[in-house]
């Protein structure tokens, strides 16, 4: 599971290494560390943004160990939808029940439409839209694309996926 986490360290040397060690001890994988030495919180601590991958059951233990080391955990964000792709749609997108089109993806539970830009040149003209799909994994993303293809094909809408 991919996690983003905001933590705060006391402003003495060696604290960052101290904070990162439990992640690898628990079998996690650090994806990025944003350490802003020159920014301080009102209480004089140093904010750090972490992105890491760790098993769900390891997460609680990680938070415990960070607390033991005097690291404040101020936010934990679970980024469930890891994979994204953009597709274009061309056709009568709005008048063929856009809500239902989006719902065909959102109702899967493993994928969502996370962004949509629509261009409507005229009432009787075809609209164009860019749609970003996100899913929990590569296979799920593929399946979401298949579902969207089937849904829009029935509505006479052209879909342009990426290569």
């Amino acid at each position: 599971m991919k996690i983003s986490m905001d933590i705060e360290l006391t402003d003495i040397p060696g604290q960052l290494v101290l904070a990162l060690k439990p992640v690898s001890d628990l079998g996690g994988n650090i994806l990025s560390v944003l350490h802003q030495r020159d920014k301080k919180t009102p209480s004089g601590r140093i904010p750090v943004q972490l992105t890491l991958e760790i098993e769900e059951q390891g997460l609680n233990r990680l938070v415990e160990r960070l607390k033991e080391r005097d690291v404040n955990v101020v936010r934990i964000g679970k980024e469930r939808l890891k994979e994204s792709m953009m597709v274009l749609l061309i056709g009568h997108i709005v008048h063929t029940d856009l809500g239902e089109t989006i719902d065909s993806i959102d109702s899967t539970g493993f994928a969502e439409v996370v962004e949509l830009s629509l261009s409507m040149p005229g009432v009787d003209k075809k609209s164009s839209a860019s749609v970003t799909l996100s899913a929990i994994g590569k296979e799920e993303l593929k399946e979401a694309l298949n579902i969207l293809e089937r849904t829009v094909n029935k509505k006479g809408i052209m879909i342009i996926p990426s290569i």
Binding site: M86, L88, S119, P121, K126, S128, S130, I160, S162, I163
Partner: protein, 337 residues
């Protein structure tokens, strides 16, 4: 001192349209160089077009070909009689593509192989419809049937895969195989103009035909994919097996939305080795701007995915008489190497 005489290679050209005339021109232009480099002496002993054929066993001059083409001189015999009866080694078949029944090219090629002549062609129809039959006939006669010019014009794909990438497993090929569609999509994006407008412009510039449907509906790309599927992937497919969508529905708004997100839209043909998840389709696709498949204008491009060499991308001119003649000439020389 003994000088080795160059090997005489007599050629007939069937179909004196752009490509056929281009072949006659490049042979004339390159004759001495080819003799010097490859030790073969190319001689055009016959040319044929709709009325029939003119022949000269001593070689037809530029003037003789021009006069026949313009109707000033009459034919000596029928095209099929020339293929069968005039002594020569190679028939260059450059009549227009017909994907309904492959004719007249199909009969020309069959007759040439049955008469024990090598065939070099730019004609997609017979290959797309009767690939296995034609290749079996060529093999049983011990003759070559080569067709580099039929896919991607001057851009080498077939010989690149068969010769230079020998030993590699070819996983897939995808690319832009139609210069007209590429021109239209490139201009629509650059000038933010609607499809109909750019199509008209392409027709005025001679880039799109008066009836552009073969190109813009994706059919030309589909036929080329069939040739690649059969010749490179041994897939035994024909035109009807291809999933085809064209570019006529693409809006300039869609191109703008793609552009904003870092993509261009291209008409992409894609073929793989079949089996699970097999692919044989032509469709507009989003291509990241920094992908090698993002080439503009009338250019063609193909990315060949291989198991050893990784991805290889070739870019070249897909159309034009001299460009197509370049591929025909390479095939001719390839027979004697």
């Amino acid at each position: 001192m003994e000088t080795k005489l160059p090997k005489l290679v007599r050629i007939s050209i069937v179909g004196l349209g752009n490509v056929g005339s281009g072949v006659a021109e490049v042979i004339r232009r390159k004759q001495e160089e080819i003799t010097r480099k490859y030790g073969i002496d190319l001689k055009i002993v016959g040319v044929a077009d709709l009325p029939g054929a003119v022949v000269d066993e001593n070689g037809l001059s530029e003037d003789a070909i021009r006069k026949f083409k313009s109707g000033e001189t009459a034919e000596d015999m029928t095209t099929l009689d020339m293929i069968k009866d005039v002594e020569h080694e190679i028939v260059v078949e450059t009549t227009p593509t017909n994907v309904e029944n492959g004719e007249p090219g199909l009969t020309h090629i069959l007759t040439a192989l049955e008469s024990d002549r090598h065939v070099v062609t730019s004609n997609k129809g017979p290959l797309a419809l009767q690939y296995v039959k034609l290749m079996d006939l060529a093999a049983s006669r011990g003759k070559e049937l080569k067709f580099e010019a039929s896919v991607g014009g001057a851009m080498p794909i077939i010989s690149l895969v068969k010769d230079n990438l020998a030993g590699n497993g070819i996983i897939s090929i995808k690319g832009i195989l139609n210069g007209t569609c590429n021109y239209i999509l490139t201009r629509m994006r650059e000038e933010k103009l609607p499809y109909e407008h750019v199509l008209k412009e392409a027709q005025e510039r001679g880039i799109a035909e008066t009836d552009p449907s073969n190109d813009v509906a994706g059919r030309d790309t589909a036929v080329k994919l069939v040739i690649l599927a059969n010749s490179i992937f041994d897939r035994h497919v024909s035109y009807g097996d291809v999933e085809v969508a064209g570019i006529t529905e693409i809006t300039s708004e869609a191109l703008k939305l793609a552009d904003d997100a870092g993509y261009v839209i291209k008409l992409i043909g894609e073929v793989d080795g079949g089996g699970s998840g097999e692919c044989l389709k032509v469709a507009p696709r989003l291509v990241p701007k920094d992908d090698p498949l993002n080439v503009g204008g009338t250019l063609n491009v193909a990315t060949i995915k291989t198991d050893l060499a990784g991805d290889i991308t070739v870019i070249g001119k897909g159309a034009g008489p001299i460009e197509a003649a370049s591929a025909v000439l390479s095939d001719i020389i390839g027979i004697y190497r």
